[in-house]
Amino acid sequence: MEVNVANRAISADSGFEPDPDFRNNFPHSRILEIFRKTCTNRFFEYEVARVFDSGAIKMPIYLSIGQEHVAAVFSEVMNAPMIFGQHRGHSHYLSFGGDMRALIDELLHRETGCAGGMGGSASIHCPEIGMVGHSGLMGDQVPIAVGAALGSGKTVLTVFGDASGEEDYVYGAMGYAATKKLPMIFLCEDNNLSILTEVSKRRSWSLVDVARSVGMKAIDLVDDDPWHIAQAVSELKDDMPAFINVHVCRHHWHAGTGVDGEPEWNRFELFREALCDCGLKEEMLRIEQQAKDEVQRVWQEQLQGP
């Protein structure tokens, strides 16, 4: 299976050149940790889907299957940033160290949820890992993230989708971050869809070009290979603020568990294949099974309740 970006809006200059040395020198222990987190994210989302379909979750859910590795990579390569995410945040929460049980409880509307039941799937909040809840107004986390970076001096990661990137205030906020040279990475998880409307139907311009126009270093990562993401982040975090647009392939609908046929590509399977190519098949299979067992066990326990 190959990454198919034929229908995607790609920048003429991606600003990225895969470095074989980076890949070869990236420690196996770290890529396996990224894989472990990716598996945890993925199997967690499968459980969310299963429980949602059973009727136990009575609110919209926003699954990240297909793009669950992005958060895993960032959590390994960025050092404890404040995180301002958006509605598709399960993977960010888990990857950066959020308590799985608290997220399960949140999805089950319990007071013991990470946002006391107020946030649901879309507004995950976890001060313990520096993750700030999202209001629901698309993209408003971006200027708030800029303010947090300015006010605290801490490194901030703000995550949004290709649609939110079009919100008027995102541009203004990015411009301000560039003006003030704030320690931030702006991550766009570009799944090419605003619900069902493709980027090419919404705009003729590129977010990467917008970022560059305000003087920010920007990368358009066409291939969402985990090593490429790791390399890109490693380059960008020394030159912040910076913008990275990662083309990802979301498997499910914008909300809920529906699917529209086979995804354009399956990064998880590609990741597995790549690990095999690295001679890590045995470790890969073990990690995958352990993650699956662990996630299913925790979900089982939480569903049974106190």
Partner: protein, 310 residues
């Protein structure tokens, strides 16, 4: 010599930046009069942060600073721009504590203006803020009142919307409520209407219409206080006068609340239901003394005729 409102704000701001590690955000803060002299002449290093002209991301940036504990002051030079600025303030800062238990204390200083300002920059718009949970609304017109709102902000972990008015900036005195023994009506003015009511009351007195005046500052939470009930009990009639639009506006909401508590009719008077033009004869101003007098006459006569027929 007493300080004006502008001087009071500037002084309090300086102290906040120097001693509390506070920040002040806004547009065009430093180049044009330091916002009517309300912003101290300090640098960015000292905490005055000039934002870009992006009216939605700008308050978002201030909200972010509030989230990380800097207790920012965010200045909106024209309250009409609140329609751009509102989103992160009302949708995030005001909701943060309810949603996640995380306070987001930001002091929004929004200045109302009037007189040739046109349809967008004119008027107070505190009504739109009062609708949303999680943010207090205070409309100071005197130095002491501004400090009251500021002290509230510094002692609470909620956002506050200070609905200021440019006409207050040179005020260097306090305004006391005015209670007579037997009023014909109780007036409850808000913001710049408080200045206009003073003239209206003089005119009405000459027509033997006696007015009690209760100055309203706390718009949200609005608390019906005993002095309001006592005065309404004596007058049997009330009128809220506001610098915001009347239709769908705070004047009608407050009137409703007072009516429920005092069981007497309370009317409302605000900006007229039309856009403000730039020409003086097309403007839409805070109810003038003339409009106030006219409305008071109207409701007093209406009551008198109802008494005759009943």
């Amino acid at each position: 010599m007493a300080l004006t409102v502008a001087q009071t704000i500037s002084q309090a701001t300086r102290t906040h930046l120097e001693e509390n590690d506070g920040l002040l955000f806004g547009q065009c803060l430093t180049a044009v009069g330091w916002v009517g002299g309300t912003v101290p002449e300090m640098t960015e290093e000292e905490g005055i942060v000039e934002l870009s002209m992006a009216d939605v991301s700008g308050p978002g940036i201030a909200v972010g600073a509030a989230l990380v504990g800097r207790r920012p002051i965010y200045v909106i030079r024209y309250q009409g721009f609140m329609w751009y600025n509102a989103a992160p303030i009302l949708n995030y800062a005001a909701k943060s504590k309810d949603m996640w238990g995380v306070p987001c204390p930001i002091c929004v200083r929004a200045l109302a203006m009037e007189g040739g300002m046109g349809p967008v920059a004119s008027a107070a718009h505190h009504g739109m803020v009062m609708r949303m949970p999680g943010i207090s609304v205070f409309a100071p017109m005197t130095p002491g009142e501004w400090l009251e709102g500021w002290e509230w902000f510094m002692n609470h972990d909620k956002p506050i919307y200070m609905s200021e008015h440019r006409r207050s900036l040179l005020v260097d005195y306090e305004m006391e409520d005015d209670f007579s023994g037997q009023p014909d009506i109780t007036l409850f003015p808000i913001s710049a209407a408080r200045l206009n009511v003073a003239h209206a009351v003089e005119v009405l007195q000459k027509e033997d219409i006696t007015c009690d005046v209760v100055h309203l500052k706390w718009l949200k939470p609005f608390v019906t206080e005993e002095r309001m009930i006592v005065s309404l009990g004596r007058s049997g009639l009330g009128l809220i006068i506001d610098t915001d639009f009347e239709v769908g506006g705070p004047s009608r909401g407050i009137a409703h609340e007072l009516m429920l508590n005092a069981s007497v009719p309370v009317h409302a008077l605000g900006l007229e239901e039309r856009s403000a033009g730039f020409a003086p004869h097309l403007d839409n101003l805070t109810p003038t003394p003339e409009r106030i007098v006219e409305r008071v006459r109207e409701v007093v006569e209406q009551r008198a005729s109802q008494r005759v027929t009943s």
